[in-house]
Subunit: 241 residues, 2 copies
């Protein structure tokens, strides 16, 4: 079984449609490549209670939770309070983070910026290469900032700890209506119940009408299911392109 | 108070990172323009129970729910069953939808395609211009397909029913560190508690360091808050660009 993950994007700017999400998209691609099975993405507002409820539930349901957003020094940065609420912990100032901030900002450090040293009580700090400010971790929740470039650079620093067996996949493109292969797909799943099998119609692509996606953590199982699918299609005179 | 909405994207292809979400992004932009306040986006797998749980909760919490995906004729299309489960309803065949499918597909209609006439018991059908297949609605849940072009065309047909008073907004761009305006933002919110005020740092844009976003459903309130903010900034010798 793969490890599972939930992604929680915290940000009114995404919900208002004014900024397009980049962070969930980034996590999804990276985690899949690492072999982690993301089971849920949520986008929620910058509100302590909404964050607490979502993080609590995701933390219980998945092996890992990755949050993005709401960790700066301004009024709308309430992720730390929300995650503290999720685990019924207090917010306290981390002396290790305070030292990090003082070293980085030197004389420019203001009291407001010191807010970034606040963590849920008992949080741990994960450091990595090329990252002056560590990732704050509470239970199985990894807290990332909302700025996409910084999020990506931090994730790259620590991603190897999440690596699992990879997913293998194959696609099959067809020029028939999706409805005409539904029976074939049932037949394939009856024989290969553990295959991750998707069927996606398109109405605008001139090259094909349906894309079938086959996925498995076992390359042999995938290849065997793929061969069986091709046989079923051939028996119905449906040729993949 | 604005009407609120939740968006539920149903699709393993999004969670696997193989297909980038277009539908939540589209709904977010459109609904904001219509003045609707989207409070949550979730991306969940093609699984009846996950769909049922998510739709039930969203339906209780928001005025409208928009789902996308999982409504075709293949094995991974379980949205109708999931939404029926959310409201503890049976799935039944709609004779009106059956007629629509027969008229559209004529002699090409297969039993498999007839699965698309299945609806949660008591569902209503919303028709609009340039839409041969109606939008299925259960309680406050509007069910859309996953193919982005079709989703958009259907939404355009029925969107006017969701129109509210619009949001007004203004942006202010600054070249200071975000931490240096945190106090100003608190001051603004103390005087204008109903202002939707966001603060977003960037570290890669050569033009500015922080974008402040101000939003309100009252244009007067927005303008007044904007003027007050500019005054506070001027008092600290911070010039917007």
């Amino acid at each position: 079984m793969s490890k599972t993950a939930g992604i929680v994007v915290i940000g009114n700017e995404i919900l208002s449609g004014r900024t397009r999400d980049e962070n969930a998209t980034y996590f999804l691609k990276e985690l899949r490549t690492l072999g982690v099975d993301v089971r849920r993405v949520s986008v929620i507002p910058d509100e302590i209670q909404a964050i607490g409820d979502e993080i609590r539930s995701a933390s219980r349901n998945f092996d890992y939770v990755f949050s993005s957003g709401g960790v700066g020094p301004t009024h709308d940065d309430v992720t730390i309070q929300g995650i503290a609420a999720a685990f019924e912990r207090k917010v306290c100032r981390s002396s290790e983070l305070e030292t990090t901030l003082r070293e980085y900002y030197q004389d420019n450090l203001t009291d407001t910026m010191l807010r970034m040293a606040l963590v849920p009580e008992g949080a741990s700090l994960v450091r990595g290469d090329q990252m002056w400010f560590p990732v704050i971790v509470v239970e199985n929740v990894y807290i990332f900032p909302g700025v996409p470039e910084i999020l990506a650079s931090k994730f790259q620093s620590i991603k190897e700890r999440f690596r699992e067996d990879p997913f293998f996949n194959r696609d099959v493109f067809l020029v028939v209506e999706e409805g005409h292969v539904a029976d074939v797909l049932h037949e394939v799943l009856a024989k290969y119940p553990d295959l991750l099998l998707g069927s996606y119609p398109t109405f605008t692509n001139p090259e094909y009408r349906v894309k079938l996606t086959l996925e498995s953590k076992s390359e042999d199982y995938l290849n065997s299911a793929h061969g069986f699918l091709l046989g079923c299609l051939a028996a119905r005179s449906i040729d993949p392109i």
